[in-house]
């Protein structure tokens, strides 16, 4: 049960951020970046497929990845609040991506040594994709932060708005501790300090400041989502709800 719960958290982060990035399709600021964002979206959806299919196997109730992705209720999604936040402008999207990628890269590096072979294999494959995502989003954060007055002001604003969702990246509960004891989750206690280092290096280059207001939100990991989640899910689930079991 703990493992199922963890796989939902991992898979839902990929699924929901993948869905958000897919909303950019055809709306990117420039053709090349439109393709880059949808490529990243497809990487994330691919990760969600592997993780949620595995979650279905672990659960043993006959649900596959599709059933988990498309037919759960909002409170049963366990993704971070960060990934369900609206796209906003291009700077908001890149900042959200950057904060998430920095965390995901470190997480997958660790998960490679999970005693769960399947999880370790998924982490190893996803790490390569995530390293590129991080490189791309970090390059953009640097260019927008250290760009024009306008771009600096706007992306600093993105950081101010998104920072409050970053504590949840390191959310740990009793369920995780059981997995750590079993070696399925490696020791992740220093993940936050490594993440801060990584993030600070880029933000320094970008001449951006971490906001001093340290009020933090959480809830996604427990299935308590922001007001944006329902709209996102209604679009994500539309086809399966209207045409149950449809395939193409």
């Amino acid at each position: 049960m703990e493992k199922f719960n963890y796989l939902l958290r991992l898979g839902d982060d990929s699924l929901i951020l993948g869905q958000r990035l897919a909303e950019w399709c055809g709306h990117g600021p420039i053709l090349e970046e439109d393709i880059a964002m949808t490529n990243i979206s497809l990487d994330l959806i691919g990760q969600a497929i592997s993780v949620l299919n595995y979650a279905g196997d672990v659960e043993c109730k006959g649900r596959d990845g599709d059933a988990l992705a498309f037919l759960r209720l909002e409170k049963d999604y366990k993704n971070l609040l960060l990934v369900e936040q609206k796209n906003g402008d291009f700077g908001d999207t890149m900042m959200r991506q950057f904060l998430f990628d920095a965390y995901r890269k470190l997480l997958f590096e660790r998960l490679q040594s999970s005693t769960d072979k399947q999880l370790a294999a998924i982490a190893e494959k996803s790490l390569k994709e995530t390293r590129y995502h991080f490189k791309h989003s970090a390059e953009w954060v640097i260019r927008l932060g250290d760009g024009t007055d306008e771009s600096h002001k706007r992306v600093q604003n993105s950081l101010n708005n998104l920072w409050r969702y970053t504590d949840e990246l390191f959310y740990v509960d009793a369920s995780d501790k059981v997995l750590t004891k079993q070696g399925i989750l490696p020791d992740l206690s220093d993940l936050k300090s490594l993440w801060l280092q990584e993030v600070n290096t880029v933000l320094d280059l970008a001449t951006l400041q971490i906001p001093t207001n340290n009020w933090q939100f959480e809830g996604g990991r427990k299935g308590v989502h922001s007001e944006h989640m329902g709209y996102l899910l209604s679009e994500l689930q539309f086809m399966q709800r209207v045409y149950p079991n449809m395939e193409w």
Binding site: L31, E32, I35, A36, Y132, R143
Partner: protein, 95 residues
């Protein structure tokens, strides 16, 4: 606000080890680093390559199309420049 466009870059992809980089197209990017990343996304997403070169289109020096007659036509009637007049002995393959 100024509507200055990003510079144009020419993209060259090496499809396999041992082959040379081939021109595949062009794209726009604000600088060299992002030009490589954009080229990765635009031109290698279906496993087309293992190496990327990008070059500012402005930096390419090209021959003048109006000089084509004097540049290229003189070579057309010099068949003896092709190694086609040798008899290849039996038993030599890969020629």
């Amino acid at each position: 606000m100024s509507q200055q466009e990003w510079p144009l870059w020419e993209v060259f992809i090496r499809s396999k080890k041992g082959l040379n980089h081939k021109h595949v197209g062009s794209l726009r990017a604000p600088d060299a680093q992002l030009a490589v990343e954009n080229a990765r996304d635009v031109y290698t997403r279906r496993s087309e390559g293992i190496s990327i070169w990008v070059v500012l289109s402005n930096d390419i020096v090209a021959s003048d199309p109006s000089e084509s007659p004097e540049l290229f036509e003189p070579a057309d009637d010099k068949v003896y420049r092709h190694p086609t007049f040798y008899d290849v002995p039996d038993g030599i393959s890969h020629m």
